[in-house]
Symmetry: C2
Subunit: 184 residues, 2 copies
DNA sequence: ACCGTAGCGGAGTCGGCGCTCCGTTTCCAG
DNA sequence: CTGGAAACGGAGCGCCGACTCCGCTACGGT
């Protein structure tokens, strides 16, 4: 592969992530081409369908998130790690969610996207298990519930942007709900 | 207005709600016309733009929800009423959310849709205030946080359908988080 | 430096959807 | 019953976005 082709591919992917974050997955391919400084043809040569482009962008997003989560998992207090993971996901997930939604609406997650999602799930599972081992986090929730709740928070902001305090308090409520609850 | 026109209008609106619930707001107007057993022209005579159709469907949805919420508010225990409201919203809101999202992406909520949303907010505020008055629900959350969290749960299911137990547990976590929390 | 070819650009094609137009049908007042 | 207005149906228009095609550009091995 020629050097300029590699560079262009990278620029297209970067532009796509930018545009998807700003305008959602509905953004036109031409806008991405413009942002990347290439022609539409070039975009389609590197990513034959829009789905391929979204999929690749999602994989990069997920892997970055998983990386951050692994870093958070290194924290001494597993409960703090869980809090950090949830807060991080809640803040940065909206774009990712939109992309996953687009793929799901178009044949379901497949191949690399599914693999990346599973890597992410594995990290979450590890952090959650360690937090539960301290006895301070309720044991009747699993990765599914965590992802569900976080996906919710992320999604909710994507639709109707909301002040950072509201989001913070919402995350707080979620985290309190995850503690081992006193049954009144 | 002629009798058949009134009947057709109702059939179109009913079909629209059905189709939006099944396929999302992206569904084509023609599908709605087919389902209603009328021509495309008829749909557009009653609802000059797709936006009008979505808006009208959303208002009906919101008012039904508000009605259910008012019924729940009549419960003896205000905390039970809050639980009922949250559970109800979480289960039936996905379609509503999608419609609101579509309107927002196209100029924001306006007129009747905004009014209906405010009616819904008023009911939520009342239920929440009464629950907080018992001293069992934390006072640092407002309607914004409640709607935010519920919107999240609704949204999350719309994207990636999830078993009813997962949703139930998620709602449970949310509700536990809303209690006055012991600070460990 | 040279030239074969990988790669590029962007005008053009195709399909889908919102919306319009008008000849035809249906309702109902007199 | 009947005339005229109200309402209907669905072919057609215009636009937009995904994707293709091909003449041109410029990279890089020799």
């Amino acid at each position: 592969m020629r050097a300029d082709a590699i560079a262009n591919r990278r620029r297209v992917l970067a532009a796509a992530r930018e545009v998807f974050a700003e305008q959602g997955v509905e953004a036109s391919t031409e806008e991405i081409a413009r942002r990347a400084g290439v022609g539409a043809g070039t975009v389609f040569r590197h990513f034959p369908t829009k789905r391929d482009l979204v999929e690749r962008a999602l994989v990069e997003h997920l892997d970055e998130l998983a990386g951050q989560a692994r870093a958070a998992a290194a924290s001494d207090d597993p409960v703090v790690a869980l809090r950090g993971l949830v807060a991080e996901m809640a803040e940065h997930a909206p774009t990712k969610i939109a992309m996953a939604g687009h793929l799901l609406a178009d044949g379901g997650l497949e191949g690399s996207a599914r693999a990346a999602a599973e890597r992410m799930g594995a990290v979450t599972a590890e952090v959650l298990a360690r937090a539960q081992a301290t006895g301070r986090i309720r044991r009747d929730v699993g990765v599914a519930e965590i992802h569900f709740l976080v996906r919710g928070i992320a999604q909710a902001q994507a639709f109707l942007p909301v002040g950072p305090e509201v989001r913070r308090r919402a995350v707080e409520v979620l985290l309190d709900g995850l503690r081992v609850a006193p049954r009144p």
